[in-house]
């Protein structure tokens, strides 16, 4: 089957010589849930806007269901649900007017599900959007993105501004959507526990490129963090030279290094090559991996 979404060597900069995206290539396959991760400013929103045809890449291409979102915007938008990070909804209209408008735009709009989600999110259809809290307005935007039961859902920071209960409710709605066959999701997020809950694959952007692209479980089970006392390696380069090391950073008296492989094997390998005692290797949750791969030195 062809990918539902495909980025091919996408490049984009806002300032000459300072690329935000510097050759990004990855597909989203049918049925996949891909979590797009990266630090602030790593280009997640830029990439998502390119997929939606809102921003042209300066080189490379994007295909959605095989179409260019620039040449076939209607064909693409019919089948895609999208919520931006800073979605602006008309403040003077009511929630009911918003959903009526979307129902009119999308023949596949699911009114029963809309009612169910309004209840789940505890939203009053008669409320004016301008009077809602930031989180509630976000829930309306998300509802509008999913109620036509899109084949591909693209969400920029769906959890931003939502309290933990509202985030969980939104994940519940996404899982209902996934349980219908054929839906794929690309979402950016800083909430690693949300990514662990619904993500199938993780794409990590760094320095304008795809730094890691792997199934979430493989990331969790095939990578480990080694805590190496500085006494046994004078420089981070000594640790980073070890086979399988993705990155080492300084944390107080230790190097924290992310390695490919089983903790026991990595720890044997390091003990042999650095001849050090007291090296500890552990598998860690996604949040810790993110910090160890992209965090600063201390």
């Amino acid at each position: 089957m062809n990918p539902v979404l495909e980025f091919e060597r996408v490049e984009r900069s806002y300032k000459k010589g300072v690329p935000v995206l510097d050759g990004v290539t990855f597909p989203v396959e049918p049925g996949e849930v891909v979590g797009l991760l990266g630090r602030n400013g790593s280009g997640k929103t830029t990439l998502i806007r390119i997929a939606m045809g809102m921003l042209h890449p300066q080189a490379g291409s994007v295909r959605v269901f095989g179409w260019s979102p620039f040449e076939n915007p209607i064909e693409v938008k019919r089948r895609v649900g999208y919520a931006a990070e800073d979605q602006v909804l008309p403040g003077h209209s009511t929630i009911a007017q918003m959903t009526a408008f979307h129902r009119y735009l999308f023949p596949s709009w699911d009114t029963a599900w809309e009612r169910q989600l309004l209840e789940l999110f505890n939203l009053d259809p008669a409320a004016r959007i301008g009077k809602l809290s930031k989180g509630q307005a976000r829930q309306v935007a998300l509802l509008c993105a999913i109620c036509h039961r899109p084949e591909l859902l693209i969400l920029d920071e769906p959890g931003a501004g939502l309290d933990p209960a509202a985030r969980r409710e939104f994940l519940e709605a996404s899982i209902q959507l996934l349980n219908r066959e054929g839906c794929s999701i690309l979402f950016s997020s800083h909430h690693m526990t949300d990514v662990e809950r619904i993500g199938g694959r993780v794409v990590l952007l760094d320095g304008g490129k795809v730094f890691l692209d792997r199934p979430l479980d493989a990331l969790r089970e095939n990578l480990c963090v080694a805590l190496v006392p500085k006494a046994s390696a004078a420089e981070s380069a000594m640790v980073e030279r070890q086979p399988g090391c993705l990155r080492a950073r300084s944390i107080g008296e230790d190097w924290h290094a992310v390695f490919e492989g089983e903790p026991a094997a990595v720890s044997r390998q390091l003990a042999a090559s650095l001849g050090a005692d007291g090296i500890r290797c552990v598998q860690v949750p996604l949040e810790e991996l993110f910090v160890e791969l992209l965090g600063g030195q201390r």
Binding site: G31, V33, P164, R168, L171, E172, I175, Q176, L178, N179, H191, M192, T193, D194, E196, R197, I198, G199, G200, L216, D217, R220, E221, V282, Q283, V284, P285, E287, E288
Partner: protein, 143 residues
């Protein structure tokens, strides 16, 4: 079926947490031969995790011989739990016991304390009490 709990920030990936709890339920007799598991889609909605994650847990359990999927009917606990050769099983259990005792002795516990921990674990497995989140990163709770 039974109450499962997942911790996204645990050291174990979610599909392994699901597998572990189902295996414990079978071992503790809370899930019996022929019992039907909640469908993977339904369990995904209950736990608020991706349907494919639950599917992966079920598939792995099937590979290991704990459950079997009957097309169109659902997933059931196998009538014959997977059997190892008795000698091989004793060997593996002895290795696990040595690991447990080493950890206990290094931590200053005595044999009696380790035996008490085993008894507690036995009670937990039979009653279905959820095991604590594992690992040294446990303090990282969900934000």
């Amino acid at each position: 079926m039974m109450q499962l709990i997942v911790h996204p920030a645990d050291e174990l990936p979610i599909y392994r947490q699901i597998m572990r709890q189902i295996v414990e339920a079978i071992a503790g007799g809370r899930l019996r031969q022929g019992d039907k598991l909640t469908s993977h889609r339904e369990l995904a909605e209950q736990l608020v995790v991706a349907p494919l994650t639950v599917k992966k847990a079920y598939d792995e359990l099937e590979l290991l011989g704990y459950v079997e999927t009957q097309r169109g009917r659902g997933t059931f606990v196998c009538s014959e739990p997977p059997k190892m050769k008795p000698a091989e099983q004793r060997e593996r259990l002895r290795a696990a016991a040595r690991k447990l005792l080493s950890e206990a002795y290094l931590g200053g516990l005595r044999f009696k304390d380790a035996a008490e921990i085993l008894r507690e674990a036995d009670r937990e497995i039979s009653s279905g009490e959820p095991s604590p989140a594992s690992g040294i990163w446990r303090e990282k709770e969900e934000s």
